[in-house]
């Protein structure tokens, strides 16, 4: 293709740029032909495309246009003379370098930088003008050497080109080729544009059939062919092994600076000016892509299933069985094994009566601690940092159904005067019942707000969400926590459970323990006038009418509450609305009435609640101060249905709703009250109950001694008791008609006696013996049996510390726990010893105030002990105190029976002694002759005989009644005494 170009174009000015002769380092010789091309510009131009080839003349002829872009660069300016002369070689023929002096320039109007500039560098000059210049100046003319050419020039004007940077050695170029002149005059300006077009429009190359234009010859010429063997050089490098192996080779250290020229040939670094191009712009691109990303996919977790195979056990059919029965082998086998069996069986029968004593020793070894460990272990303790300070625990109740929930009431440990002084403070900060969960010992689950300090409270046994409490101010308070039952039940619903909420949307109130307001309080005028000291729900199997009669409870839920207080009253309260009483409220009404969001369960009671039965405990002797009850105990217990007849028990079990709950919000369900009209009177229920009192009638010791001396030996005991602080009173709750009026009033106490030397703090019935009571007060506690009033079955010597509470073990009949003022707990085991506690253990450094025990599971029993620092200690009962030992119940029953018999005997002896004493006195009097011997008169004999006869009638009647021969309501015919 280069061959087709004009010869002027093949040799471009650019090709001179790299004209410095480069050493030919090839070891191979080139073929004859064009000069070495690897570095030569000519070769390069051959290889380049058409566009680059046409560039050459363009640059040459219109340097004005292309100088900036493509003209020889400043490199040329500093080119050496030799280089410039060589540049001139490449000038096309008929184009000559010429020097025009400044004078001539002016004459020809060709002044540099005025008429001609770098950009506009051509000027047409008339041939005549030049010839005239030659003529006038002769040899001095700048054009003299071209005289002939000027003369021969066919056209009139000659083109002079200004060589701005002396590229071709002189300042001007003169053209003697008319074609070239035209080219200079009209430079092909379209070429660069075409070039641009070419690059922009990409035409995919189309395959063409190859036409030979001689390039294959060029390629053939380019090929290197080795025509001599390659030279080999051997360079020895000293190595340590070589040193030792060939010591003949001598190497020595040479100072590179001194001997450099002699010994070292090196090609030093130099700055290649050709590559001085600075990169000004750089196209660069970056692909932005995330380094990693997270992805998730949901996989379906199918329920894992066990592979199963159904199989059937192999059996013989009837026929096969009969067939195999005839098998001789079988027969043999049975016959042979017969003796073996007989022997084994007989051996067993012989050996069975003997058993291993070791197995019976020590009982069950399972469980923590084993049988040896008999100490109470602290399981957990609850104490509120803020609210527990200076507070004493007044009552502890375990939640009847939900495990691990315990309610604790706290009260300020203040005397009456302190309380009066701090009245304003107590009002502003409401008293609270804390509902603790074993899951969270830091924050209580619920706070129950009370109008005043709570002395005692109890969960309703049938509706565990209902709580009744007795206040210091004598009011009975009701709470309904049904709405919060989920909160209590949910072990994770505590304040740390932040996961429940999206961050930023936490419901602060959720994490705070809710304060629950009471639903209802009793009316102040009709309630107690002193602090309520004991409160109990009447068991669900009976209810008490306003006449005090125990009747069947058809609703089968606990609804009545019994309370006692210092004001010598025992009150009975009904929580159900009166028949047809509370009418359901509309929603609007509810909102008006109920601004605090309090459940309306007991709305009908609020502030108007009156006890339906009021018992006044009068002193049996006139002039004495009435009893001040502190604790009471009724015979019936929750869940004990013995009082009901057999069939009633069955219906009771049947009717019992599993959900329970008669206390529904009246809005949700209107009057659910069941008519109690048909309720039968339950004869078996004992209307007598025991009351433990605090005697405020202090009698001086002197007086006591006076009474004591004056009394008979048999009475001494009684007299002594009368002046004790804590009395035990046997009382009937059934009101009786007074003799002088038609009014019903509480009967006088059937029996009363001072039993303990301080206010009664606890009066508890044994869970195993309904008629056995444990009474504690002051420094002593005693065990009494109902209706055995001659004395206690067991009484202790005064302890060193005041007793604060007692609690029976629910699983061991002979075990009970006694808490003391010094923070210790004594464990008494009647089977072990009766004169001293089996275990005495210190629990708290402040006085314990309340004990409450709960059987969590067959393996766990927890005792909650509250102290006067507001802390509740949960103690785990060791296995030895939990697990009844062999026939313990029998042993304890026998013990109590023995003690009861002893009481009878003592009583018998008292009578004997009394008789003896009277006889003695009579005899002494007779002897002295002061009084005549007593001779009974006829009247006296009659009276005595009538009395005897009446006794016999009574006895006969009772026998007949037992046999069912007499009606119950019939009364025996009694002969009047006189």
């Amino acid at each position: 293709m280069s061959g087709k170009q004009a010869p002027a174009k093949t040799t471009t000015p650019k090709s001179t740029v790299n004209q410095s002769p480069t050493p030919q380092a090839a070891s191979a010789q080139r073929r004859p032909g064009p000069p070495p091309q690897s570095n030569s510009p000519a070769g390069r131009s051959n290889a380049t495309s058409t566009t680059s080839a046409t560039k050459g003349p363009n640059k040459l002829n219109s340097p004005a246009k292309n100088q900036v872009a493509a003209s020889p660069l400043p490199v040329v300016k500093s080119a050496t003379l030799r280089e410039v002369s060589e540049n001139a070689q490449y000038l096309p023929p008929n184009l000559h370098s010429i020097f025009i002096s400044s004078a001539t320039q002016q004459a020809l109007q060709l002044s540099v930088d005025e008429d001609v500039t770098q950009e506009n560098n051509t000027k047409m000059i008339d041939k005549e003008v030049l010839l005239k210049d030659i003529e006038s100046l002769g040899q001095g003319s700048n054009f003299y050497e071209f005289k002939e050419q000027i003369q021969n020039y066919p056209e009139n004007e000659i083109a002079i080109v200004y060589d701005y940077d002396y590229y071709y050695s002189q300042n001007f170029l003169i053209c003697f080729d008319p074609l070239l002149k035209n080219f200079i005059a009209n430079p092909p300006v379209t070429l660069p544009i075409q070039e641009a077009d070419d690059t922009e429009q990409y035409v995919p190359p189309e395959p063409k059939t190859w036409i030979s234009l001689g390039s294959e010859v060029e390629i053939e010429e380019e090929r290197l062919i080795t025509n001599r063997p390659l030279k080999r050089f051997k360079i020895k490098v000293p190595s340590r092994s070589a040193k030792a192996a060939a010591p003949s080779e001598k190497f020595k250290d040479v100072d590179p600076d001194i001997d450099r020229k002699k010994n070292i040939i090196c090609i030093e670094q130099y700055e290649d000016k050709q590559f001085d191009l600075k990169k000004m712009e750089l196209d660069s691109s970056v692909q932005a892509a995330a380094e990693h990303r997270e992805n998730s996919s949901q996989t379906i977790w199918r329920y894992p299933k066990n592979q199963w195979t159904q199989y059937e056990a192999r059996t013989f059919t009837e026929e096969e069985q009969t067939k195999t029965m005839k098998d001789e082998q079988l027969i043999d086998m049975v016959m042979n094994s017969q003796d073996l069996f007989k022997e084994a069986l007989q051996q067993n029968v012989i050996h069975n009566p003997f058993y291993l004593d070791w197995n019976e020793l020590g009982g069950d070894l399972e469980g923590l601690g084993g049988p040896g460990d008999s100490h109470l272990r602290e399981y957990q303790s609850f104490s509120s940092i803020k609210q527990s300070r200076d507070m004493i625990v007044t009552c502890i109740q375990w939640h009847p159904t939900i495990r691990g929930i315990i309610a604790v009431s706290l009260a300020a440990g203040q005397s009456f005067d302190e309380r009066a002084d701090n009245m304003s403070r107590t009002i502003t900060s409401p008293s609270l019942i804390f509902m603790w969960s074993f899951v969270d010992p830091i924050q209580p689950k619920l706070y129950l707000e009370a109008p005043d300090d709570i002395q005692c409270f109890q969960f309703s046994p049938t509706d565990p969400h209902v709580i009744a409490g007795g206040c210091v101010n004598g009011q009975v308070v009701m709470w309904d926590i049904k709405e919060y039952e989920d909160r209590i039940r949910n072990p994770r619903g505590d304040h740390r459970d932040k996961d429940l909420f999206i961050p930023g949307y936490e419901d602060e109130s959720f994490f705070q323990t809710p304060h629950i307001r009471f639903c209802a309080v009793s009316s102040i005028e009709n309630g107690h006038s002193e602090p309520i000291t004991d409160l109990q729900w009447i068991p669900d199997h009976f209810q008490i009418t306003t006449q005090g009669l125990p009747t069947e409870n058809l609703s089968m839920t606990c609804s009545q509450i019994m309370t006692c207080s210092f004001d010598s009253q025992v009150l009975l309260w009904e929580t159900r609305p009166p028949r047809g009483g509370a009418k359901p409220l509309s929603k609007k009404e509810r909102e008006i009435i109920n601004p605090m969001g309090v459940p309306l369960t007991f709305k009908h009671l609020d502030l108007t609640w009156k006890p339906f039965l009021r018992l006044n405990l009068q002193s049996p002797e006139a002039g004495q101060v009435d009893f001040a009850p502190r604790k009471f105990s009724i015979r019936e217990t929750q869940g004990d249905r013995e009082a009901l007849s057999k069939e009633d028990q069955n219906t009771f079990e049947k009717k019992k709703e599993p959900s329970g709950g008669q206390f529904v919000n009246p809005v949700d369900e209107a009057n659910k009250s069941i008519s109690q009209a048909k309720a039968k009177i339950l004869q078996k229920i004992d209307t007598f109950f025991y009351v433990g009192t605090e005697n405020t009638n202090k009698i001086r010791i002197k007086d006591r001694l006076y009474y004591f001396k004056r009394s008979s030996p048999g009475r001494r005991f009684d007299i002594n008791r009368r002046f004790r602080d804590g009395q035990l009173v046997y009382q009937d709750w059934m009101p009786q008609k007074e003799s002088d009026s038609t009014k019903f009033s509480t009967p006088k106490a059937a029996w009363s006696s001072g039993v303990v030397d301080g206010p009664v703090v606890a009066l508890k019935r044994s869970p195993f013996f309904k008629d056995v009571l444990l009474i504690a007060g002051g420094w002593i506690f005693q065990i009494w049996r109902e209706k055995v009033h001659s004395g206690s079955l067991l009484h202790t010597a005064p302890l060193k510390e005041k007793i604060t509470d007692v609690e029976w073990s629910p699983t061991r009949p002979g075990v009970f726990f006694v808490s003391k003022q010094n923070g210790g707990i004594d464990v008494w085991d009647l089977i072990d010893r009766t004169h001293a506690p089996s275990i005495s253990q210190s629990i708290s450094n402040t006085a314990l105030t309340y004990l409450s025990i709960k059987t969590i599971s067959s393996k766990q029993q927890l005792l909650a002990a509250g102290d006067s620092n507001g802390t509740v200690h949960i103690l785990e009962i060791p296995q030895s105190l939990r697990q009844p030992i062999n026939q313990e119940l029998q042993v304890v029953t026998n013990y109590l029976q023995r003690e009861t018999e002893r009481r009878d005997f003592v009583k018998h002896r008292w009578n004997l002694r009394e008789e003896e004493k009277r006889e003695k006195e009579r005899l002494a009097a007779m002897k002295m002759g002061i009084a005549p011997s007593h001779i009974p008169t006829q009247d006296e004999i009659d009276i005595r005989m009538k009395n005897e006869y009446n006794d016999f009638i009574q006895f006969e009647f009772s026998v007949l009644q037992e046999m069912g021969l007499r009606d119950e309501n019939e009364a025996p015919v009694i002969v009047p005494a006189n």
């Binding site: 013989f316 079988l330 086998m333 084994a344 029968v349 058993y355």
Partner: protein, 106 residues
């Protein structure tokens, strides 16, 4: 002739079984073949099934144990004393007899 012998012997078996069952505390008698199916049982079906299945493997195991200890030896009788009862097992070549005796103390 032989059939009469067999029948008399069969009667003897019945007699033996009755006799064993008259012992104090015996409340079960099972005769089973060594492939696990029972021939005769005096207790309910499901209990027999589980009993035969389990006791057979145990007696096999015991038998192999005895034989491993002494190849000349063989298991003749197996007594399993439990809290509630005693299981008496008499293994034989093709058959197995199980007697259950209640433990008196419980």
């Amino acid at each position: 002739m032989s059939s009469t012998v067999v029948s008399t012997q069969q009667a003897e078996i019945e007699e033996t079984m009755k006799r064993i069952q008259t012992h104090k505390g015996v409340h079960g008698f099972v005769v089973m073949s060594n492939d696990g199916s029972f021939v005769r049982s005096t207790i309910d079906n499901s209990t027999t099934m589980s009993l035969t299945g389990l006791i057979r493997t145990l007696s096999d195991k015991a038998k192999s144990c005895v034989r491993d200890l002494d190849p000349q030896n063989d298991l003749t009788f197996l007594r399993i004393r439990t809290k509630k009862q005693e299981i008496l097992v008499a293994p034989d070549k093709d058959y197995l007899t199980i007697v259950l005796q209640a433990n008196e103390q419980h």
